[in-house]
């Protein structure tokens, strides 16, 4: 799962750093991900994991790090 998340970030996150090797707690917004890019990340994650983030998950905090994204994806998969 982490690999898929990192692939999505590499393709859509527009990070100033390498999404393949950053720490899972690194703040993605502080690493250059714009809110515009985060929307694309969100869409790509929904497609990759066949999920739909609920309204309450659509927060900056859900997408602030790889760990946060993983938690969010797992929560939506269980829902």
């Amino acid at each position: 799962m982490d690999e898929t998340i990192r692939d999505v970030l590499t393709e859509h996150g527009r990070l100033a750093v390498d999404a393949g090797s950053i720490d899972e707690s690194t703040d993605l917004f502080a690493s250059g991900m714009t809110s515009h890019a985060s929307v694309n990340v969100m869409l790509a994650l929904e497609d990759a994991f066949d999920i739909e983030f609920s309204e309450k998950m659509l927060r900056k905090s859900t997408f602030e790090s790889i760990a946060a994204i993983r938690a969010g994806v797992l929560e939506m998969k269980d829902a």
Partner: protein, 393 residues
Amino acid sequence: MISITEEAPVVSGSSDVARRMARIADEISGPAADEVDQQGRFPSETISALRAEGLLSALVPRSLGGMGASYSDLSQGLVSMGRQCASSAMVVAMHHIQVASLVRHGRNDLLRNYMVELVDRQYLLASATTEVGTGGDVGSSVCAVDVADGTFRLEKQAPVISYGRFADGILATARRSADSPENDQVLALCRPLELELEQVGEWNALGFRGTCSPGFILRASGDAAAILDDPYGDVSTQTMLPVAHILWSSLWLGIASAAIDRARRFVQAEARKRPGMTPAAALRLADATALYQQFADLLRCSVARFEDIQDDPDRLSALGFAIAMNSLKVSSSTLVVDVVRQSMVICGLASYRMDTPYSLGRHLRDSIGASLMVNNDRIMGNNAQMLLVHRGE
């Protein structure tokens, strides 16, 4: 995080704020409005009058010596001021947007002490959020604060700083450090003595001429604690954007209100000439009045929408709220032009001429600025992006 939770606004005390702003608007801003517009000069008499009554710190909580006014009261006050002089009202609105950001996102001792000082000295605050080279996107910066030994330095090429020459302090956006990406921004309070403004060009615009908004090269330094505690992204989402859209819409409603007042008086004067005959323009007045009501009620609901959740960062950061506040800006900046134009059709040449009690030239010119200051297309583009994932209310 938001910190203005110490006390609830005092209803009687703060509606007083709206009344006092209305009185200053009627007695001082109105009589000077044409001169401010024609000469493109700063509305100093309005700012002095607000200062004398301590109204520049209306939004500062009582615990810090301010009035603890509510956003709805300030909104009402700005409607009254926009009715008389849109330039004055825009300066006042922009100042309060900066104060709101400080009050809600400045928690360290330096910033708290500065707010006490602001109450005492009645400082006027300006903003430098746009920058040469970012294509008008305030969510990214080229310049960066350089922090060393507890001191920050900043140089910024600002294409616009409204009333920069007349401000006692400027809140400027910049990247957090020289290594930060363009969207990792902070907001730094730049204060006199450590602030140098080199003016670039003039401000000779179609409307809002009294806001005196040329470009500047801003050079500032100061204690690193003058950088607001929260990242600019949070300040923008939770405070600057919603408060700006509410306060701007308030003064635009004031412009619309002045226009429809003239239209109503025009139709009523016609009706008095021929009692028994409903003037042809009365039907248009009914149309324009319905439009005006849409505008007024939209603003009232939007202020309530913000006030209901103003201390809840999570709900303030929700997509639905951001979309609603963006829609408010786009709708009200469109409605103000519509109401002014319809009022001109009602008053006819009397509104087109510059020297009648029904003149609406200044109102029309000012109203057109509304959709251009932060271009509506950019705002709608942001909403379009958010709507790709928003799930509805």
